[in-house]
């Protein structure tokens, strides 16, 4: 009896190790990840293409039960979901990857919106440029603001950043109200849109037509996802995860934590600015009313709900947070209360969110993952053999 125990333990270890290597603890949606990882490359591509086609087709299909009509126009609702998803992807870099709590993300969104307005609206006296150029410009300007805010505060402990960003979010809204050049509640009308005219002479990207805007937003999301995904799998991503898990340990291991925190903050801010510019283009009007800190809380809720540290989770969270008040208009007034309570409950019972962040071997490819789990299995097997041999050797003299 007692000789059997070590073997049994190693088998248990083998099981848990291979399970961990193949996608974390047993978890909700965990099975999906395992199935995904076991798929062949071409299967993954096929799956992705089908999902993408469905995503692009969504506003045209306007499916029953899912549609937000008659309360809200469905293509425009889709566009808003896409904007929230983009915001969540950007905020996920800050909160999810680097573990910095940015509570004033709306400020960067506002900066992006105002950039688009300042450079395209006839109400602005600045020089005018084509709308599509304001997208990279908004990204750059928001990044600059991110660096300006991050430089003094990122050297400090994380919680100071939370309160400073919270203040910053409120300050940008106040400045938009009291600085005469920002035009307060009067705002900027006729913010630009991408070029192109439909056959009936109307611009393709009109305020009332959500479909092209949605396609533009989804395309932007895909581009940003590719960029962020590459960062995540690189040295930068590994540094972010190290900082999130233990900043002091990361610093000791030679990670320049301040530099990488600033990068995360700036990239997050840039994506926030980009989404703000997109939003301003579709709505066609920018004033000081949309940028309250409460919306900032919704952004954080989107990332945390979806699963902070996971891109897919962030998109899902962003889309859900935008979708629920649009679909269920009866509870739209309570959305802050609902998402506030969701935050508390999630933190207690499921801090990792709907789709948990990958905990293991984040930086390696799937092949490497397989190889490592094979290696572990082989090692465990050889240990078992050794134990069996030792047992046999022990057993022989007895007989």
């Amino acid at each position: 009896m007692s000789e059997q125990t070590p073997v049994r333990t190693t088998r248990a270890v083998q099981l848990t190790e291979s399970r961990e290597a193949l996608g974390g603890r047993k978890q909700f949606l965990g099975g999906w990840r395992r199935r995904w990882n076991r798929m062949a490359r071409w299967q993954q591509w096929l799956f992705l293409i089908i999902v993408l086609a469905a995503v692009y087709y969504l506003p045209v299909a306007n499916p029953w039960l899912i549609t937000t009509e008659p309360g809200n126009d469905f293509p425009i609702a889709c566009f808003q979901m896409a904007v929230y998803a983009l915001v969540a992807v950007g905020l996920n870099v800050v909160v999810g990857f680097a573990g910095l709590l940015d509570l004033g993300y709306i400020a960067f969104f506002a900066i992006g919106s105002y950039t688009a307005a300042f450079f395209t609206s006839p109400d602005s006296s600045l020089i005018h440029i084509p709308y599509l150029w304001t997208l990279p410009l908004a990204l750059g300007i928001a990044m600059l603001f991110g660096v300006a805010l991050g430089l003094p505060t990122l050297r400090l402990r994380g919680d100071y950043l939370a309160i400073v960003t919270l203040g910053f979010g409120e300050i940008i809204r106040i400045l938009a109200t009291i600085i005469p050049a920002a035009r307060g509640q009067v705002g900027f009308k006729e913010v630009g849109h991408p070029p192109g005219t439909a056959s009936d002479g109307q611009p393709i990207f009109s305020v009332s037509n959500g479909v092209p805007w949605y396609w533009l937003a989804v395309t932007v999301i895909i581009v940003i996802l590719l960029l962020v995904g590459n960062l995540e799998r690189s040295r930068v991503g590994r540094a972010w995860i190290a900082i999130r898990e233990d900043e002091d340990a990361a610093e000791i291991m030679g990670v320049p934590t301040f530099k990488f925190k600033l990068w995360a903050f700036a990239i997050g801010a840039g994506v926030g600015g980009l989404s703000g510019a997109l939003f301003a283009g579709q709505v066609g009007f920018v004033n000081n009313q949309k940028f309250d800190v409460a919306t900032s809380m919704l952004f954080v809720a989107a990332v945390v709900l979806g699963g902070s540290g996971n891109k897919v989770g962030a998109i899902l969270g962003g889309a859900i947070v935008a979708y629920i008040p649009l679909r269920f208009t009866a509870i739209a007034d309570y959305k802050y209360l609902i998402f506030g309570i969701i935050l508390i409950v999630l933190m207690i019972f499921r801090p990792q969110g709907l789709v948990a962040a990958k905990a293991h071997l984040l930086t390696y490819s799937r092949l490497a993952l397989d190889k490592v789990s094979e290696f572990r299995a082989a090692r465990v097997a050889s240990e078992q053999e050794k134990a069996a041999a030792a047992e046999a050797a022990k057993g022989v003299p007895n007989e």
Partner: protein, 342 residues
């Protein structure tokens, strides 16, 4: 909306410009109204300081920015307004003897304290304690604090709607004496003196009593304190309760100063400013909270005079916070709660 909350009692001509300018400096206005603005700022500062104490104590013990503290405060404000309204106070000052007014105000303050303490207690029990039990990460605590803050805000919104509560005037401020040509009235004097008395009492309570020693011990090292026989959970609850009591007192003074300022999200920006005050004085430092609060109040008023719009007070307070973090992150008195000795 918040613009009305922070406007100076001395009505100033608002310099509204129609051109597309960015920022106008109005130095003459600042110089002319320097002393009235100073004393008015000190009054606001005393209120900030009382709220800042709640932040500072919880931060000292739990190392957590308790975002929900601004809602603890605003709940106190609702308690004060409900009490005063049911006692027959209204937009016009009541015609009562001074002793009757003092009795009514103390009653209102007690009810406000009860509202605040209950809120703080519930937040600690429902939101923070389960997290402590599970050893959650720092980020989880902050997100929970944020969630608690918004839940309470919009719970109030559900019950009371988006409008501010009707104004309650407690008494008409009467001039008492003059300093540097600025009139100091009974309201300012009441607020500042009462606030300072409460701060000194808190300071002494933490320095001299047994519970105060427990608070300092937990702030220094929670695990060792537990080994030495300190009941950590009870100390943490006590800290939240003390913060709630001070917030309830601040609520009375705030309603006195800004009668129409009780609105569901009215605590939010005030909370940020109070936290800025706590950081300015040195977070975790009880005396620092007083200094920081008074400074934030005064500086905010100067900023408002210089830049011409009452909303600049918030912007200036925020800029002060960032500058302090940049130059002296540990604050002016830079001492933690654990290190202050009896």
């Amino acid at each position: 909306m918040l613009a009305t909350l922070f406007s100076l009692s001395a009505a100033l001509p608002a310099s509204v410009s129609t051109d597309n300018s960015w920022i106008n400096f109005d130095v003459t206005s600042l110089l002319q109204n320097f002393w009235p603005a100073t004393f008015d700022g000190l009054t606001f500062g005393a209120i900030y300081a009382l709220i800042a104490l709640g932040y500072t104590l919880v931060y000292g013990v739990l190392n957590l920015i308790n975002f929900a503290h601004s809602e603890v405060f605003i709940m106190g404000c609702y308690g004060v307004v409900f009490t005063l309204t049911s006692l027959g106070f209204g937009p016009n000052a009541p015609n009562l003897s001074i002793w009757a007014i003092i009795f009514n105000l103390i009653l209102a303050m007690l009810v406000g304290m009860v509202f605040s303490v209950v809120t703080a207690f519930v937040v600690e029990r429902v939101a923070y304690r389960p997290l402590r039990r599970r050893g959650a990460s720092r980020l989880a605590f902050l997100i929970t604090a944020l969630g608690a803050s918004f839940s309470i805000q919009y719970l109030i919104f559900l019950v009371r709607g988006s409008n501010a509560e009707p104004a309650v005037t407690m008494f008409i401020p009467t001039p008492i004496f003059q300093v540097f040509g600025a009139i100091i009235d009974s309201q300012q004097l009441t607020i500042v003196i009462a606030a300072i008395v409460m701060m000194v009492a808190t300071d002494q309570y933490i320095r001299r009593t047994r519970v105060g020693r427990g608070i300092r011990a937990v702030a220094q090292d929670p695990d060792t304190a537990t080994l030495m026989g300190v009941n950590k959970d009870r100390i943490i609850v006590t800290t939240f309760v003390i913060g709630g009591i001070l917030a309830g007192a601040a609520a009375l003074f705030y309603v006195m100063k800004v009668p129409s300022g009780v609105i569901y999200n009215g605590g939010f920006v005030l909370g940020i400013k109070a936290f800025a005050a706590a950081v300015l004085g040195g977070i975790g430092n009880v005396r620092g909270a007083l200094l920081g609060g008074l400074l934030i109040g005064v500086i905010g008023n100067y900023g408002q005079l210089l830049l011409g719009d009452s909303q600049w007070t918030d912007v200036v307070a925020f800029i002060v916070l960032v500058l302090v973090l940049l130059i002296r992150p540990s604050g002016l008195l830079g001492q933690t709660l654990g290190r202050s000795r009896a």
